[in-house]
């Protein structure tokens, strides 16, 4: 086994010890020559031990502390899902790493057998920190669960091999709980006799098949809640038909497991009719609120209760159709789309992997009456199963895509195929440099990026790497809405200027993400997740997920002004730090600065207005008096006094608020520019005072108990002192 473990290095673990999982109940012993299956869920857990803090000052040389005396700080779990035998094998393995202190990672590989109990294959799907390209897997088969193990060797990707041994945990890939509730007077059809109807595959085994069996065969350890309820008809309102909202309300009241969070559990509700009428046989109604796909409904008196005229066994046909519908609707709770919806325009959302439509699939997710030959042809060779693509998704896609209440129904997923490494040399951090990542309503959101060299060798990076909109991919996701990629108004083309980032050294930049070419992606009140990927030549560096909140408007005047503020013109003025072209937008900013002077948005408005007035403004204009030269450059001079007043109001007058709202990096850059501009205007003394205000503001600033780095304060002090009378030096705007 290789001693090199990038995951442990990534989290700074000092030592590791595998946990031996409790023995599983003995399986049913089948007579020789049956051999135990290899498929199922395997798991290993790894402790992360708390770093030993050194006393300060160090009185004596610290002594190593034996592992047994150290307290585990946390642990991470690494899972293997091996899918090579049993029901509907996909010849696939997938793995995931979870833990409070590690970045989650997920991989999927297609396998080929290399022996009776060994397989190898290439990793074709990566989500998170996965740099390897191949896996080789061997299993120890045994009828005793505690003796079953799988050993995985990860290789390729320019990294040393990594070997991990997993303990068998379950023959299923996930555990899930179903609860079946009925409206008053209705019954739940949760099982059928597969041979009750004569139209079926000739090879169909005759058995009593339950919904639980169907999903067990799909790879899930299904338990049925014993807390089934009868839901009073009063919940459906006066018309006794159920709307989506009424069913959602009923789910919250009557589902014993209801919680506003993601969990492997769902509620299936059997009722008479939806308010849409008999044309709706069932619906996964739960695309409401923040946790989708927790509830689904089947309508016993809809068209699915009408057997075709002349059918050989109408009762069996109806039972089968209601049963089939229940399995279909529950499939939507697992985020399965219809068979013909696998390919769709990007605007609908990004599929987790490219998929092909399966309009003729004999799957629970197809409509029986839409295939060639209609429902008769469908059921003639339907085997009560999902298609291979659907099984692949349910068994092996990242759990958050499948788990109920997690990813939104038809959600798109930003970094599904980032080319990331298990032990990246750089770490990217996105943060809001304030005690709590909470932004006032209308406050433009500026975040900070920090890129740190976390390996032992210097890394050559572009000086403007964090300013490059080509290298940065920024995803903004409001809770309950699809993720969106932030698209800045402009792309800058910088000359390449490489620098060495030494081990432990960081570089910083600010990121304005409220508005861009998509509009105001981050403006409405609510909770958001922001994540950034840095696209480098060899790999992608993916940041942490930053959760932030935009507070609701304080009063009606804010709501009213917001309608004008959240416009494309104003977004551009703020992004470009001033304009004299978008006069309507400037009017809005003037109104905001005047009426909301105690709110942080006023600082941003003043800065943008001042920035637009501080310098010569060149504009391409048409001159009708000059027929031979229609277009010309008109230069408007700066309005120095007005600009000075506005910039001072934005940056200095309320400096503690300004540094928090603009962020450390952006605030300092803007104050530096303001000082340089003042010096250019001959106001050296004011430039000195401005830098002095910057120094005192930054010196007093702490976030999470951490002060500003001393070298940063020293830089500011040196800049300030350069403006002292007698030390005047030529400065120019950066």
């Amino acid at each position: 086994m290789s001693e090199h473990d990038p995951i442990q290095e990534q989290v700074g673990a000092e030592a590791g010890a595998e946990i031996v999982l409790p023995a599983q109940p003995l399986p049913i012993v089948l007579p020789y020559p049956f051999i135990p299956p290899a498929s199922g869920l395997y798991e290993t857990r790894q402790f992360i031990f708390q770093p030993i803090p050194l006393p300060t000052p160090v009185p004596i040389e610290p002594q190593p502390i034996p592992i047994s005396r150290r307290q585990p700080w946390s642990f991470y779990t690494e899972e293997l899902r091996l899918d090579v035998d049993g029901r509907y094998p996909q010849m696939v393995a997938s793995g995931a790493v979870h833990g409070a202190l590690v970045s989650s990672a997920h991989w999927i590989a297609n396998l080929q057998a290399t022996g009776a109990s060994s397989w190898t294959g290439a990793i074709w799907y990566k989500d998170g920190s996965v740099g390897y390209t191949n896996v080789a897997i061997s299993v120890n088969r045994s009828w005793y669960a505690s003796q079953r193990t799988a050993t995985v060797t990860f290789s390729g990707g320019g990294q040393p091999d990594r070997v991990r041994t997993f303990q068998f945990k379950s023959p299923y890939y996930h555990a899930v709980e179903f609860e079946f509730d009925c409206a008053q007077g209705e019954a739940a059809t949760t099982q059928i006799n597969t041979c009750a109807h004569p139209n079926r595959p000739a090879s169909m085994p005759c058995e009593t098949l339950s919904i639980q069996n169907v999903y067990q065969r799909a790879g899930f350890d299904v338990t049925i809640s014993s807390a089934g309820s009868v839901v009073p008809l009063a919940g459906a309102g006066a018309n006794a038909r159920w709307s989506d909202q009424e069913m959602h309300d009923a789910m919250q009241t009557y589902w014993s497991r209801f919680a506003a969070k993601s969990q492997w559990a769902l509620w299936a509700f059997f009722a008479s009719l939806h308010e849409q009428g008999t044309s709706l046989g069932g619906i996964m109604f739960d695309d409401i609120g923040a946790n989708h796909r927790q509830g689904t409904a089947i309508f016993n008196d809809s068209f699915i209760a009408n057997a075709p005229a002349g059918d050989a066994n109408p009762t069996a046909w109806v039972n089968r159709m209601i049963f089939w519908t229940a399995c279909h609707e529950i499939g939507h709770c697992f985020n399965l789309a219809h068979s013909w919806q696998k390919q769709h325009p990007p605007s609908w959302g990004t599929p987790w992997i490219p998929l092909a439509n399966e309009p003729e699939a004999r799957s629970f997710m197809n409509y029986p009456y839409n295939v060639s030959g209609g429902q008769t042809a469908f059921f003639a060779n339907f085997e009560y199963r999902f298609s291979d693509g659907e099984l692949l998704f349910m068994r092996h896609a990242p759990g958050r895509f499948v788990q109920m209440g997690n990813a939104d129904w038809f959600d798109q997923h930003g970094f599904q195929e980032a080319a990331v490494s298990l032990s990246p040399p750089l770490r990217l951090e996105i943060r809001a440099n304030r005690e709590r990542p909470v932004f006032e309503f209308m406050e433009p959101v500026t975040l900070e990026l920090k890129l740190t060299n976390v390996c032992s060798e210097p890394q050559l990076v572009d000086e403007r790497l964090l300013s490059s909109s080509e290298a940065l991919v920024v995803i903004v996701k409001k809770d309950g809405k699809p993720a969106r990629q932030y698209v800045p108004y402009a792309q800058y083309c910088w000359s390449a200027d490489r620098r060495a980032l030494l081990p432990g050294e960081s570089m910083y930049d600010s990121l304005f993400i409220s508005a861009g070419r998509n509009g105001w992606d981050l403006a409405e009140p609510g909770n958001y997740t922001v994540q950034v990927a840095l696209r480098l030549e060899q790999e992608d560096i993916v940041s942490n997920e930053l959760r932030l909140r935009v507070t609701p408007p304080r009063a009606y005047d804010e709501e009213y002004l917001a309608q004008d503020l959240f416009s494309d013109d104003v977004g551009r003025i703020i992004a470009f730090e001033g304009s004299r072209f978008f006069e309507r937008g400037n009017d809005v900013l003037r109104e905001v600065a005047a009426k909301l002077s105690d709110r942080r948005v006023a600082l941003h408005a003043s800065l943008a207005l001042g920035g637009g007035l501080a310098f010569d403004h060149k504009q391409l204009v048409e001159d009708p008096k000059e027929p031979r030269k229609h277009l010309g450059i008109k230069v408007e001079p700066p309005k120095v006094d007005e600009a000075r007043e506005l910039l001072d109001a934005a940056l200095i007058a309320q400096a503690p608020q300004a540094v928090e709202s603009f962020g450390h990096v952006s605030f300092r850059r803007r104050v530096d520019e303001f000082s340089a501009w003042l010096a250019e205007q001959g106001a050296e003394e004011q430039a000195f005072q401005t830098q002095d205000a910057l120094l005192s503001t930054m010196s007093a600033r702490q976030v999470g108990g951490r002060p500003i780095l001393p070298r940063v304060l020293a830089d500011i002090e040196a800049t300030r002192d350069a403006y002292k009378p007698g030390q005047r030096r030529k400065r120019s705007r950066k």
């Binding site: 849409q276 709706l280 046989g281 069932g282 619906i283 068209f303 789309a337 919806q341 609908w348």
Partner: protein, 99 residues
């Protein structure tokens, strides 16, 4: 008079949709959107005289349109879907069901 049921089904995503029957606008709605879990967006029903009927489906914002000649003698159900750059129509004498 006979019922003509027109169902907007797959592929609609915040679309402006106009429906005309024999040149008369019978439906105009913005932001028509398919609920993917049931493959259904919206529907309208009109009473028409038996015989030849011309159904026009227009999506002006996408510069898409389709004219469908129908011969109506009994209740008729037309399912309209967007499939790529095309408007697909399915005619049935049975009501559509959604799941």
């Amino acid at each position: 008079m006979t019922m003509l049921h027109i169902a907007l089904q797959e592929g609609f995503y915040n679309d402006l949709v106009h429906l005309r029957v024999n040149g008369v606008q019978v439906y105009a709605k913005e932001s028509v959107r398919t609920r993917f879990q049931i493959g259904y967006a919206d529907a309208c029903e009109v009473d028409v005289s038996p015989g030849a009927v011309r159904l026009e489906v227009l999506l002006p914002q996408k510069n898409m349109s389709r004219t469908l000649p129908l011969e109506i003698s009994a209740p008729t159900y037309v399912g309209v879907s967007l499939e790529g750059d095309a408007i697909a129509c399915r005619v049935s004498d049975q009501p559509f069901g959604y799941l």
